[in-house]
Amino acid sequence: MISKIIEKKLVSLQLVRGLSSSTARSARNNAFNTVITEEVATKSPQLVTLHNRLRLPGSFKLSTLGRCLTCIQKDNKYPNNVGLSIFGKNLLSYHATELLLMKYPRLPLNVLNNAINGIIGDETLYSIGKEWGIQTDSSTAVEKFLNEEPEEITIGRLRFDNQNKSIESNLTVIDKKNTLTQEVAMASAVKSIVGAYYASSKSLQDTKKFIYNYILTTRHLKIQDMFEFEQPTRELAALCKRQGLEQPVTRLLSESGRASKRPVFLVAVFSGNEKLGESFGASLREAKIRASVNALMNWYLYSSLDVKLPSDADYSRETLKEVDHGIVIV
């Protein structure tokens, strides 16, 4: 799709405030007469390339894609993507919760929430949006007018009231009143693309496939680095008592250099003669704490061999007798 643009050198202009007349219309109210029409959208290079990049189905119209990039603005020319992004967020948070809960059934709730935020939080969706090639629109109405920027180029970009507007080279205005930051705007665009995917395909299975292919499996989450314990030995004892295991006993497995500058003690926590967790330490106290942390991680990060998801087509877990008890409360 070749398009010829004459990108003139920008003339730095004294900004004339309020050139573009905007009727008083509440940003929430989306009842607009001007809608992004399909024939304008097909001419937009950014929309066509984004559509191809994500291999979106034919039913996903380019005008809908244009709407996904229209964030809430003071003077919205086109209907914005607030409803779509809320819907997309609901779809995303269900699939992220399901994936994490079924993979690690014993995950504590606060770790689960942080992990969900790690996979589909605004920060992550911002970097996903950039990888998808969504360009943000940073030129003001005056510059668009002077450059005679055609409509299809404008709708191809992410349009929002930026919180920090740079007027001149070293001057940025930070205006927090109902404006969006770059991350929030890009994240809302990605979420509304997910919402629009369901709207056009009308099938949860296809939307799930899209979410997994383009969002959930494109991030690797280091879940083992997300735990911090305050009194691990007490918590492990409470866990063993709750599960009916024998009281944990920490034993010294082997050591090296006890009298030297850098001793290493290998210590393990046993319940009866079953090992629960082991670790090294420069001192016996450190080794004991690290061993019970390792044991608790072995408990919380249990994952079964055949992870099945409720949203799979042929899913049924009649045999499931016990659901995870819950977090250990000391």
Binding site: M1, I2, S3, I5, I6, E7, P45, Q46, V48, T49, N52, R53, L54, R55, P108, N110, V111, N113, N114, A115, N117, G118, I119, T124, S127, K130, E131, W132, G133, Y212, N213, Y214, T217, T218, R219, H220, L221, K222, I223, Q224, D225, M226, F227, E228, F229, E230, E235, L253, S254, E255, S256, V264, L266, F280, L296, Y300, I327, V328, I329, V330
Partner: protein, 141 residues
Amino acid sequence: MPVKALKATTVAINGVKSFILPCQKIKIDYCNWGGSSLGIKQYIQSKKFQKFAQDNQNIQINLHHRPGHHPVITGYYANGRTKPICVKNLDLETIDKKMDIVRSSSGEILGKYKHAVQSVNESARGIWSPLHVDPSQRHKI
């Protein structure tokens, strides 16, 4: 005082279930008057360029008339970096190769990597520890 949660650190891995080409936009600057733009002008009107654009619908291509300068092909990438290649006085075939270079590059700074394999997964057999080696094979000081 149950377990506390730390902030999640996630790493981007492209190409697991879907691959998104890092090159997003290619800008071709040409000059209508200068002789050095002869090759690029032939290339723009050639079948090869049509085929290139048709095959890569996921790359936005801008033709930009920039009088008084040598012709340049600039690639814009997902990591925000650009890759300009000067194509002055080049003929049609070479320009096609340059376009392919710009298309298939990732935009990262070219350099040598210390390890052959870069992975986000933990090692399968774990970090070797001398205290876990079988006592019969332990290193005797």
